[in-house]
Amino acid sequence: MTSLVVAPPLLVCRAHIAYGDRRVARDLSLEFPAGRTTCLLGRSGVGKTSLLRWLAGLLPGATQAQPIAFMAQSDLLLPWLSVLDNVLLGYRLRGDAAALRSAEGRARALLDDVGLAGRSGDRPDQLSGGMRQRAALARTLCEDRPVVLMDEPFAHLDAVTRFDLQDLAARLLADRTVVMVTHDPLEALRLGHHIRVLSGPPLAAGEPIEPSGPLPRDPADAALLGLHARLLAELRGQPT
């Protein structure tokens, strides 16, 4: 499916991140390994989202280090476009008619991948919450960028839908460099090759935790449950 040769790593080198008047990070250096999914775990207010927005080049003064695709907490589907046109949004916005035409086949294949093949002509308000987030995932992948940034992409979904979407994301995001912010230790354990617990402010990242096993990991695995307890303890140990 993917036309990528090799996804690059994403490097943060001595970054200063500020959000409004708030200093989020000073001299922050981080490496997100190539072709891997790194989950950033942390309590509310440590600056996870600011870091992600900084990486996406969305904070004032920040520049996008390389082409990225961004997926937010809400699906951000445009209500006046069909599902297919939403998936193709990037191409429509860039206004390159030839690229738009050639991307349509890929968009349809992605909609098929996320189980929305029959809904491509529907408007977003005709879809359920889970379907909408799947459409947003298809849109993110349709951008075909080697680096994908995700800000709690499944936080709004019910437990079962979230579980299904995690499986889907693990399959479709393979080989890309993914940075996923999440509140949920279990989600990080299922989807992350690497997990880093963030603390702050000022923002600091703990040593990478690398659970074993292919993604998505089975939540019933005893080793995983042990790590879950450890991550929770680590998160609880932080001052708020």
């Binding site: 961004f70 916005l93 860039r94």
Partner: protein, 244 residues
Amino acid sequence: MRPLVTAVGLLLGWEGLVWLTGAPPYILPPPSRVLTVLIERLDLLLAEALWTAAEMLIGLLLGLALGAALAVAFAASAGWRRWALPLVVASQAIPVIAIAPLLVLWLGYGMASKVAMAALVIFFPVVSTLYDGLRRTDQGWLDLARTMDANPRAILLQIRLPAALPALASGARIAAAVAPIGAVIGEWVGASAGLGYLMTLSLARGQTPLAFAALVVLCLLGLALYHATDRAARRLVPWQSQGE
């Protein structure tokens, strides 16, 4: 159904009041008399209504186009905003009735001065609602578009403008509601046709029941224009009216 009951109650009260006070019809005609005149002079009333409707409709389209163009210009360029926005706001401080004679002087007794008057009262609600809508685009959409390397023009045309259409729709509803004001004021000041013209003429001749009949037709015309606009607005933003 309930407003109809209220209306019938009010009409009955009005009829009773005329009967009790014995007011002459040229001061206060009873509703029954107005209805009679309305039926007897229907041809005349419809002809004048057609004229006024044309003024209102052309004024509405012109005001919408002008208002929408200005709002988009304000949203697209800070230069436009700084040079022209204060003037647009100031223009609303001048009561339209005060410039009506001037417009008639410049544009004549025909339809043009009334269309200009209607467009003048209509464009402001359109500018202000649409410009407001254009400024309040969901930040998430704007961020998403930026990560997709969209230029400001594409963001304006493909995201901010469609996102502001519900705001434009409410502006258009207000515009449709005030359109008769512009047209009728124009006709009062100086005209040779239209319902407002018919009203002033029949009042001057002591034909008060005919003036009332013209008022009834004007009211129905305004309602029709409002509902037509409302329907058009719903078609324009189907994703908004779905739940209603």
